[in-house]
Amino acid sequence: MSEFISKQDLLTWLGQLMGERNLVAPTRVDDLLLFRKVDRVEDIVFDFDNTTMSPKEWFYPSSETLFYVEQKDGQTELIPAAIEKETAIFGIRPCDAQGMAMNDYPFLEEPADALYMQHRDKTALIGLACITACPECFCTSMGCGPHDPANVDILLTEVTDGYIAQVLTDKGKTLLPDNLLTTADVSSPPAPVLSEVPSDGIAEKMRQAFDEPFWDRLADRCIHCNICSYVCPTCYCFDVRDYTDKERIERVRSWESCQSPGFTRLAGGHDPRSTKGSRLRQRFSHKLLYFPRQFGALGCIGCGRCVRACPVNIDIREIIKDVQQLGVKSEA
């Protein structure tokens, strides 16, 4: 027996949510699927593999003002940015939800990042379990699963005429009124089976592969754009600069990628990580070696976005396989 909500009740509930808070959901933008604020239930897409951009942009936006600097009668004043309105993200996949939990490690570690914490506190996650798997995803090899309810406030699993609803947190309870739920004798469909990636002990293997020429050969075809970092739910490196608009100054934080030329370049021109191979190694070492060493969890949750989006098919699944066997056979 499980809690059930009909498709129609779900639509009315989402309509109510839209009235009281920002409702963010997967929507079609040209032929893209992006998490956007919706103000019509008809714009919400219910059956999809996953969005092009991860929901990270709703917790850690591509650009965000940290604070404003204003002159009030000769006195300089700093006005930190604040998040007022509550937000609910509908249609977040379990892998992305785990990705957001991964970002909590660096951002919420003492002293916590104030703005990120407000985003996190004021955003509820209404997860949508995966019925089918996309060809590139491999979350089951990275400590997650297509029906994993671990990091969402509510998990909906599609069944005939409606959804099984698991309300998992207090935030979820306040969001979904009980009267919309009925108990029904229906069980969730079997989880899709995904391709396996040998991720056990990958951190130690990455450690051993650090000085291998493998990385320079891999970097041959890499064009060093920022796509993989920007579509990835668990890439959180950022850059900070001030902007002076007419009336006031604002300090802006934006996404930055370890592949971009200025990532480690110091004023005066010295760049300790200047070769293509070392920059590419940095990205995969951060996810598969440094992040586990610092926070005890892999920094990749297997959503497959970087595999889909990379113009030259730098495929993290292939890298993990190659690095695992690096001790066995040497890469040509």
Partner: protein, 277 residues
């Protein structure tokens, strides 16, 4: 005083601006809020981010010592957009200060030991608080040898304090430049050669060095030739930083962050890092 928003700087005022060299100025800052100023404690080796509002913020090693309660000093070389903006400020201007960040030179562990300070160019600035502390608590430490090198005589930082240092007990000051000028009477040699010439003894000694990567590289070779073990050689690493809290992930060397796990490292720690900067 736990900062409730760690990316929000403390408003501070530029008290005094002293020209140390043609492109380096000493900024004497004072935090505006008295409570924060009172509780703002730091140790030699730690750094702060200084904000030039409208341009950005950058990390600078603190050159003053907390126990003298005489304001916060940072030496800034004009080399980029933020430093250029800071150099154009006048005393009384408002800047932002964030920090203190990073670990520090464990001076307590060096008590009773001989201390060799080897600094090159602006790299000498973060070493000055060690000298001030050693001289303020002279009995706690052994011999003090200060080697300060620079491109030219006018590029030697903290020149006004050289006489005081040289006159201090059990203290030797060696100045060297890459190229002298007509008034220069001191050494004209690269820092590593001065290190080997002085035959510094590794007995009960700690060598602390900071400067451009090329200088550190060759200084290490000389120190090791003289018999210094890797845990007796201390240095600071420099990296691109945007937060100082291990969040922006810009300054990592392998799995360590320069801002959080450093900037002070012993050569022993550095040799264990998988990524070599």
């Amino acid at each position: 005083m736990k900062p409730e928003n760690p990316l929000l700087p403390y408003l501070s005022t530029l008290q005094e601006l002293i020209d140390l060299t043609p492109d380096v100025k000493l900024f004497r800052l004072e935090l505006n809020d008295p409570d924060i100023r009172e509780s703002f404690d730091y140790k030699p080796g730690q750094f702060v981010f200084v904000s030039a509002f409208g341009v950005g913020e950058s990390p600078f090693g603190i050159t003053s010592v907390a126990h003298r309660k005489a304001g916060l000093d940072v030496a800034i070389r004009r080399v980029g957009t933020v430093t250029n903006a800071l150099h154009q400020l006048e005393p009384g201007a408002t800047v932002g200060v964030r920090g203190p960040f990073g670990n520090y030179f464990p001076l307590d562990e060096y008590k009773g030991k001989n201390i060799f300070i080897i600094g090159g160019g602006i790299g000498f600035a973060p070493l000055r608080p060690i000298i001030t502390t050693v001289l303020d608590y002279r009995e706690d430490y052994g011999d003090l040898v200060i080697i300060n090198g620079a491109r030219s005589p006018q590029d030697l930082v903290f020149a006004p304090e050289f006489d005081a240092w040289a006159a201090s007990p059990k203290t030797k000051l060696e100045l060297t430049v890459d190229a002298g000028d007509e008034k220069w009477t001191g050494k004209v040699a690269l820092i590593p050669s001065v290190v080997s010439e002085l035959k510094l003894s590794p007995q009960n000694a700690i060598a602390i060095t900071c400067g451009p990567p090329i200088m550190i590289h060759f200084t290490l070779i000389e120190l090791r030739k003289l018999g210094f073990a890797d845990n007796q050689i201390i240095t600071t690493l420099e990296g691109k930083m945007k937060c100082g809290l291990g969040k922006c992930a810009r300054c990592n060397v392998g799995e360590k962050y320069i801002c959080k796990d450093g900037p002070v490292f012993s050569m022993e720690q550095i040799s264990q890092l998988i990524e070599q900067f």
